[in-house]
């Protein structure tokens, strides 16, 4: 790390418009609604329900990412797999796919004339317009964030530590549980935060799969089109505020007492 020099200040000046682009809109949005309007908005049962739904469904998706994505991330970090490059590409796909297309793709699968859709509907699983559908969409868009974060966590644990555990008599699974997991669970919390944040922010894919039950972003869009900017701002502010509190809490949890530095 070096002190700022002349070039440093020049570079900062060049980047300044971007910093303003990122900060000014958010500042102006959060400062425009009056306290009364914010209070009135949070008293609206529909708003509270939509925000609660957004957060709970996003956490569900992150939970599924944790359960099924952790082993996948471990495989990608550690093992030789045929077609591993392809698998990594597949996991990064959701970042590259336009959001409405994600929704359309998931609906394509769920149609009654599609064999899988047929099967799903036979066992009573509905995608269109249901919480199940929303969770599918949120998992789809959030997964790369979870897996990439956790994979980099596994990458940061030297393989030598796992080998050392093996040489001391522990099996592969025991080694994962007693050595790898304790050294990476903080990355998993971070991955859950990233995945949840991405899921809460999703709109384009959700609105295709389920306009109702309404998530917070859909409600913000609806209020905007129906009543204009002024009536959508307070919900946006509340959604951001509540998500922010949630993430800070999760972060605190992961920074709780631990006796070693890494």
């Amino acid at each position: 790390m070096k002190q700022m020099d002349l070039m440093g200040w020049l570079f900062l000046f060049l980047g300044l418009p971007l910093i303003l682009l990122l900060t000014l809109p958010l500042i102006s949005m959060t400062t425009e609604p009056s306290a009364a309007m914010l209070k009135e908005t949070i008293a609206d049962k529909d708003v509270v329900a939509a925000i609660a739904r957004s957060i709970s469904l996003s956490l569900c998706a992150a939970g599924l990412a944790f359960i099924m994505g952790t082993p996948l991330a471990y495989l990608l970090a550690r093992k030789e797999l045929p077609g591993k490059r392809l698998l990594e590409g597949i996991i990064d796909l959701p970042i590259m796919i336009p959001h409405p297309v994600v929704g359309i793709a998931i609906l394509s699968l769920a149609g009654r004339n599609h064999p899988i859709g047929h099967f799903l509907s036979d066992v009573g699983i509905q995608i269109m317009g249901t919480k199940t559908g929303i969770i599918c969409v949120l998992l789809f868009v959030g997964l790369p964030f979870y897996i990439n974060t956790v994979k980099s966590g596994f990458d940061s644990v030297p393989v030598r530590l796992e080998n050392a555990s093996r040489t001391l008599g522990a099996g592969a699974l025991t080694t994962f549980i007693r050595i790898t997991f304790p050294l990476t669970w903080r990355h998993m919390i971070l991955g859950i935060i990233m995945c949840t944040a991405r899921a809460i922010s999703e709109f384009g894919a959700v609105v295709i799969v389920a306009y109702h039950p309404m998530t917070a972003p859909v409600m913000i869009y609806e209020r905007f089109t129906a009543f204009g900017l002024k009536y959508s701002q307070p919900i946006a502010v509340w959604l951001i505020f509540i998500s922010f509190v949630l993430f800070v809490m999760l972060r605190m949890l992961s920074k709780s007492i631990h006796p070693y530095n890494r």
């Binding site: 530590l161 050392a164 522990a170 099996g171 050595i179 006796p259 070693y260 890494r262």
Partner: protein, 346 residues
């Protein structure tokens, strides 16, 4: 104890080829070679971390070639010690005991013994990031030794330590070997270290064993230019036989060997410390010359002297005392010689 027969290990960019090794009980066996020679890979192969492609690995006569790592009852201490950062010294040391048939009581006894033997009393509750290199090494040793492994494998045990701690660490390893009567296989690229610690060893280069046997015999009778260079032999020159003496190729200089060389040999070498300064009045060596001093360079208490005679350069290591006493300096001439037993051919 440990024996390897026809061992091969193929990786995309490196191979171990047809390795045979015999490590006896209570050996301190050194695998010696330059960086990239495959010596650490061989260690990982013996441990089972990198499975051998073919060949047989016997431990006490039992074929363990296909055993998983954790069933081999060998212990590997990594170069960087690989302590578990989230466990303190106490938990690191006891980690392996839960996976073996070791009773709580037995584990406790062994722990108490090792803590005092390795001097860990004051650091039992510390975490690895608060330990010095030497302390880490002792914890890593304790963690392995508590399991009573049949063989202890050490990967470059000194190279991660500050040079200041080398002496101490060497003595510790010697103590572990002697007092616990361990069988040890060590990887090293430093021949001084090996001379101090090991009794037997093998020279490895490009994934092949070049030479194997007693450390002293490797040191004194290297059998190839590579090994000769590696153990610090100098004055390596090609020769051809002229009657019973060795004539240095391209010159008229003749050297008298102790006994007739193997006809297959082409090179001779002499350790620089075996080239003696001829102190006036002392009896003369069989090979004696008068040469011009071309360079004198300090390397600690000793001086490295380059001597030229009949177009051949000799390198000798002489005590600084001689240089002072006889006022030797670059450009002067000096009489020197070496006994015929000091002449090695290969």
């Amino acid at each position: 104890m440990i024996s390897l027969h026809h061992i091969n290990l193929h990786l995309p960019d490196f191979s171990l080829t047809d390795i045979h090794l015999q490590v006896h009980r209570h050996d301190f066996f050194a695998l010696i070679g330059p960086t990239g020679s495959g010596k650490s890979l061989l260690l990982e192969g013996i441990m089972g971390i990198m499975p051998f492609t073919s060949g047989i690995l016997l431990s006490d006569g039992r074929d363990i070639t296909r055993f998983p790592v954790e069933k081999r009852n060998l212990a590997l201490v990594y170069q960087d010690f690989a302590l578990f950062p989230h466990l303190n010294v106490f938990k690191n040391t006891l980690y392996g005991t839960t996976f073996h048939n070791i009773s709580k009581k037995e584990a406790g006894q062994r722990f108490t013994y090792l803590v005092s033997a390795l001097g860990l009393e004051k650091i039992v509750h510390r975490y690895p990031h608060n330990l010095s290199g030497g302390e880490k090494q002792r914890v890593a040793l304790a963690r392995s030794l508590i399991l009573n492994p049949q063989v202890l494998l050490l990967d470059e045990p000194l190279s991660a330590l500050d040079p200041v701690f080398h002496d101490e660490a060497r003595q510790l390893l010697k103590k572990v070997h002697k007092e616990l009567r361990m069988t040890i296989i060590m990887v090293s690229h430093n021949f001084d270290e090996v001379l101090y610690l090991a009794n037997r060893g093998a020279i490895i280069k490009g994934g092949r064993i070049m030479h194997q046997g007693d450390i002293l015999s490797i040191f004194e009778k290297p059998d190839s230019r590579f090994t000769a260079n590696f153990v610090g032999m100098k004055n390596i020159m090609p020769y051809h036989l002229n009657g019973s003496s060795l004539q240095i190729t391209g010159t008229r200089l003749e050297i008298i060997p102790h006994c007739p060389p193997d006809p297959a040999h082409q090179y001779m070498g002499i350790r620089p410390e075996n080239i003696l300064f001829h102190i006036p009045g002392n009896p003369v060596c069989k090979n004696h010359f008068t040469g011009k001093i071309k360079d004198i360079a300090s390397c600690g208490v000793f001086l490295r002297v380059q001597l030229e005679t009949q177009g051949v350069m000799f390198e000798a290591v002489w005590p600084a005392a001689h240089i002072k006493q006889f006022r030797l300096e670059t450009g002067k001439t000096a009489a020197f010689g070496f006994p015929s037993v000091a002449v090695h051919t290969f």
